[in-house]
Symmetry: C2
Subunit: 747 residues, 2 copies
């Protein structure tokens, strides 16, 4: 065992020669030595001691505290303000007015053993950017309220026009629920947390266990973020004091109907009062009732009134200028605002970022300087719609496009497994870093534990196709696959609006998650029992992100590898072919069944189900351009990666000038994957490989222009985006081939 | 459309020439004209008016009524008695004794609008053939209590030794729950109905809807029927007055631990009191609690005392002797005993059988006589373990082996789709009959509606592999597949013990089933609201079974077709290859994961899960004999089927002597598929193609000697049963080839 250890220890880091690796590892050891669980604990306790939503005094106080800490550690830190539209709740009511009466409590009472839950100055549960309104109507249960749910309703002859819908959380992004409800003519939208996924169905409820108690409510934004993030009034530009703003009535990201989030305690009487068809099997949650669809006889009255004013955001931005390449920026961020206390979300990740910043500060004191510039950011207003990060990214867009080499994000961090997602040109780097971080529970590296997990998950009966594919890759022994990024946290403006290579790195998967998400119970007391007792995974997180930052900061040539990207894209393109083929077969089969009247014959007249709508015929698409682009990408990637490994062997060095040229080419690689006009219906999103789905919200759609066009039967658009994506890949390859040429001349 | 109709109408029936078909159709029309919904209604109301379990006075009265009716319709009807061991409940108690107190009600109170539910002379809820006992112990929740559940428990470090288990109904046959519990060392077994499948989770509860109310209990037998059915004291012989009997202590089918069935109302306080690990996701039902596994701290006291006496069974057996082949018997049965009133189970099917018998009686009065002998049987004691049918079949085994050409069973019958299962040599006949019966809801034939249903089900997202395969067959336009028979009703002694070709034919799938199964609420009032309002599917059932009986009775040559059997067996053998290959791959993968310590590394130490046990290596099996037998069977079947179609063309006729020879060969075909020593560990079950699984109970295992040996890692046994099954198929083919020769000579 000893020899293996020495070998591993002696191995060169990716991006570093053997000699450089010795020095870099020594820096990482000093960095690690300065990470303290006591710091994480003390900061989390302090930061989460009072409500922290946008506009709360403690959120501003936290910004000042964080800025001052960063300054004290040697960073150039300051607060940068923005001024978005930020409605706050004035009044809301929800009541069942027939056939029986019930008034929803809309309150989260104190919980034994949870110190902060007794505070009464927290924010009442509401969905920010829902419309004001006072509506009364028949209730309809719409399951998750996603597109397929409306198709199911239609087959049951149920229409939501003029009705109020009640949807459960899950199945897709929260904001899509009111958006699709209003699209279908509903006049109001109630969103509740079903105990199946988010209460006693998932585990013991708080305070006995960690899951959501009957009164717990999930707050959250319902802005139409899949079209743009940030201040709804300033799409594409920073919400500075004098920015040009849309009128509220013209802001496309704002909902047109009132929306309210409620607990399952409040939801049960409403759902129990529904009549109409029994809900389909997949729609039933864990409440002890027979779920019905409606409409009515349950009739509800919903009223929401907000104060539609501006609030001030306090982003804390801290810098250490690079010693050799000050114009190459590594940006690292985590948001600081929470819904109420926010101990899990976001402060658990935020304190890890602070530990990194402190340890980097300590390195500075030893005389170390990063070659490239480091920027650490404590974002405000993420919860309402990535406000702080988006407004900063939009304000500094030109400079970021020129200088940023990497954005690294985290959000909540808990016990469990390393979870990394992002630009696949960074997959090699992340895998390499994962071998330098120990998992605190098992003593093996975070990477080794993740590989074991992928292998075990892929072997489970009923494993998903994704899990099985990942296990196959893990079994082959090479790099573990990292995920692709959709949305849901502050990487979005950097990756998807500006085209900056990005990563999200968080530990998780073993905590009792979900239980207090966006509720009054997301508290310090809850986190230290269920999130990461002893903060040991907080240290792992700070190590993983910290080492990544330090290696990108210090490598002579930026540590990208392109074979992983090419292989991953190969998988995506295969999926697109399969998607089109599957849809074609499915549409043909369906047409035959409809022609034969089979749905009518198979139907149960006592529980009638209309036949599904005919799907349009699926033409064969012009995939050739994309297929050819992929072939070229594989070749270009292989050529570059081989030369880069020779550089790493350390027998030759690049001249400073060639190094600079090469870095400049590499820095801009990701931006070639964007298109200035972005995606159909949402120009703000410009990345042609990774985007949040228009109808998933957080969930990623890879090669989105093509994939969503196929999903939505937009064949011309699919062909158009095959061409655009192929062209972007050609630009990517052109740039990569130039980098290869520079590298080849230098070796 | 008209021409098609004329064509279809003019088409010959399978087994009949065009001329014979005209006559046969005319008989069927007269038969159909005598089926009356008013009869079904009146009989059901009368038969289900009082409790009908074995030993109840009304069960005997019903036997006499049925006998007298049959006599009045022209049948030679009599009651045949048997005397099985039949424990009846004297006393039972179930209480939670710690950490809190709760006494289970074990009562099914009256329900509004259900007239018979007010009666108090019904049978209290119990599991017949559970042991007497008075035990106290810690409780463990074992999900369905099936083999995989015990593996899951083991991985959680939970042992049931010395404990009392609580299992929910479902996942496998009821009797396996206490059997596996006692095998694992448990001292008592509680079985409850979870509302997920069997209560508000499935639909509105009775009386608002049809599903099980909180107090409803599922009674039922827990004899170890997968080893033999019938009286536990007389395996293999009839329980006549003077039969040799086992001692109760020596009867292998009897449970050794006390067992009690309870409602979900009674189960909830017990489950809520459990601690220990949170139950795995798939174990969670619809009660509004977090399901835990235990053991304890819930401690329960369970006491069951029964009267272990004999009871008398009253089988009603009615005959019409065949005019040409009196020694060829067509046996048709449905049981008559119920758990309490039994309106659904079994009387809904029983009254349909009575309608057939009455209509056949009416045909007799017109001078018609069946060529072959008809025997109609109203079985007693099915609920306790197929007692009436098994004891009759065992008593008359020699004669049945010589004379029976077919057994047709039904049990409960409800709204919906034609469901047929049985010997695949009868698949053609059933398909042909299904074209002569109209579906009352759609007006198309029962066969056409079933085809539409199979096509639609196979097209659904998430359709099972089985559904997809069936849809493929249905889309090809040929005969629809019929199912294979496991157990759960009275066909078992005929098909699986004696090797008589059998069918089970019932309509169903659109009623709110399950809700009152084996409870006090299985009543007339419930059935006419939810089972088959207007008894229209009762008429369809009587038509389908009646036409089948009449065609087998009247065809010159028995209407078998062997290509369907060969094709079906081909599918089974393919499955066996895949099963072995899949197990081999799975065992190899698992071994690698265990060698690499991946389970340990992937484990969550706060919710520990032990690694699964290593699976033995799977050798390559000697499949060649079976593969070759299948090749021969396909050829032999094709040769016979082609000649039989020529016979049907009507250009030639067989001599009476050749017809007799041929019939005799065909009659005995199915019995060549049996082996005198039966299956491993259960000699009583002798069929080598269709059997109830040793660990499924009702669910079928096809080619069971081979399949179960592979599943249980008994490689030598697998090879042995490959040989035995191949030999049986060779005997089948020898006989079939002789039949082909007789037919060939005759044409």
């Amino acid at each position: 065992m000893l020899s293996v250890f020495i070998l591993a220890s002696a191995a060169a880091l990716f991006g570093f020669t053997a000699d450089e690796s010795v020095a870099q590892k020594s820096i990482e050891q000093r960095f690690d030595a300065d990470l303290k669980t006591e710091d994480l604990d003390a900061w989390l306790k302090r930061l989460s001691s009072e409500p922290n939503q946008v506009g709360a005094p403690h959120n501003q106080a936290n910004a000042e505290f964080v800025r001052d800490q960063l300054k004290s550690w040697g960073w150039d830190a300051q607060i940068e303000e923005f001024y978005p539209l930020y409605p706050t709740l004035k009044h809301h009511t929800l009541e069942l007015v027939g056939p029986n009466k019930f008034v929803a409590a809309l309150k989260e009472p104190p919980v034994d053993g949870d110190a902060t839950s007794t505070r009464t100055d927290g924010m009442g549960p509401y969905n920010v950017y829902g419309a004001d309104g006072d509506v009364t109507g028949d209730l309809v249960y719409v399951n998750y309220g996603m597109p397929n749910d409306y198709k199911d309703l239609e087959r049951r002859g149920v229409d939501v026009k003029g009705k109020i819908v009640i949807a459960r959380y899950g199945g897709g992004w929260r904001g899509l629920k009111p958006k699709l409800a209003q699209t279908h003519g509903a006049i109001g939208c109630i969103i509740y947390s079903d105990p199946q996924q988010d209460g006693y169905g998932a585990g013991d409820v708080y305070p006995k266990g960690g899951t959501r108690p009957a009164e717990g409510v999930q707050r959250g934004s319902v802005a139409d973020m899949p079209i743009y993030s940030g201040d709804p009034l300033t799409p594409g530009v920073g919400a500075t004091r004098n920015a040009k703003r849309l009128k509220i009535a013209d802001a496309p990201a704002l909902m047109k109907i009132p929306v309210i989030p409620i607990s399952y305690g409040d939801a049960q009487p409403l759902l129990a009062a529904l009549g109409g068809p029994v809900a389909p099997a997949g729609w039933r949650g864990a409440l002890p009732i027979t779920y019905h669809v409606g409409p009515g006889p349950a009739k509800v009255h919903l009223e929401v009134t907000s104060d539609w004013g501006q609030k001030t955001l306090y982003d804390v931005i801290a810098r250490i200028p690079g010693s050799q390449s000050p114009d190459q920026w590594i940006v690292r961020g985590n948001h600081r605002d929470g819904w109420v206390f926010g101990a899990w979300d976001p402060l658990s990740g935020h304190v890890d970022m602070m530990a990194e910043a402190k340890a980097i500060g300590a390195l500075l004191k030893t005389g170390w300087r990063p070659k490239r510039t480091l920027i650490y950011a404590s974002w405000d207003g993420e919860e309402a719609g990535l406000l702080g990060s988006t407004e900063w990214a939009e304000t500094h867009a030109d400079e970021l496009r020129k200088k940023a080499v990497l954005y690294i994000n985290s959000d909540l961090n808990t016990r469990g497994f390393l979870g990394a997602a992002g630009s696949h040109s960074l997959q090699r780097l992340v895998n390499d870093v994962s071998q330098s971080v120990k998992d605190p529970e098992t003593g093996v590296t975070a990477g080794a534990r993740l590989r074991a997990k992928m292998l075990v998950d892929g072997h489970e009966k009923g494993a998903s196709e994704r899990d099985r594919k990942d296990a196959k890759i893990a079994a082959a022994g090479g790099d573990l696959p990292i995920g692709a990024l959709g949305s849901g946290s502050d990487f979005t403006p950097f990756l998807q609006h500006l085209g900056i290579a990005s990563l999200a790195i968080e530990f998780g998967g073993e905590a009792e998650q979900g239980g207090v998400y966006h509720s009054n119970y997301d508290s310090y007391d809850h986190y230290v029992r269920f999130g990461d007792p002893g903060f040991v995974y907080g240290i792992s997180e700070a190590q993983t992100v910290g080492h990544t930052v330090l290696r990108v900061a210090d490598a002579n040539v930026l540590p990208f590898q392109f074979g992983s990207f090419a292989d991953t894209l190969d998988g995506y393109v295969t999926e697109l072919h399969e998607l089109a083929d599957h849809k074609r077969k499915d549409a043909d089969e369906l047409a035959k069944l409809l022609d034969q009247n089979d749905y009518k014959l198979a139907d149960d007249p006592r529980r009638p189900l209309l036949a599904p709508e005919r799907e349009p015929e699926v033409p064969y698409l012009d995939f050739a351009a994309l297929d050819n682009a992929l072939v070229r990408l594989k070749k270009s990637a292989k050529a570059y990666d081989e030369l880069y490994l020779r550089l790493q062997a350390g027998t030759v060095r690049l001249s400073a000038e060639r190094n600079r040229q090469l870095d400049e080419l590499l820095r801009g690689m990701e931006s070639t994957l964007t298109h200035p006009h972005g995606l159909p219906e949402r120009e703000w999103y410009k990345h042609l490989i990774y985007e949040p789905g228009l109808y998933t919200g957080y969930g990623v759609k890879t090669v989105p222009g093509v994939r969503e066009a196929i999903e939505q039967n937009h064949w011309d658009e699919a062909n158009q985006y095959i061409g655009l994506t192929a062209a972007a890949l050609a630009a990517y390859c052109d740039r990569l081939d130039r980098a290869t040429a520079v590298l080849g001349e230098g070796l």
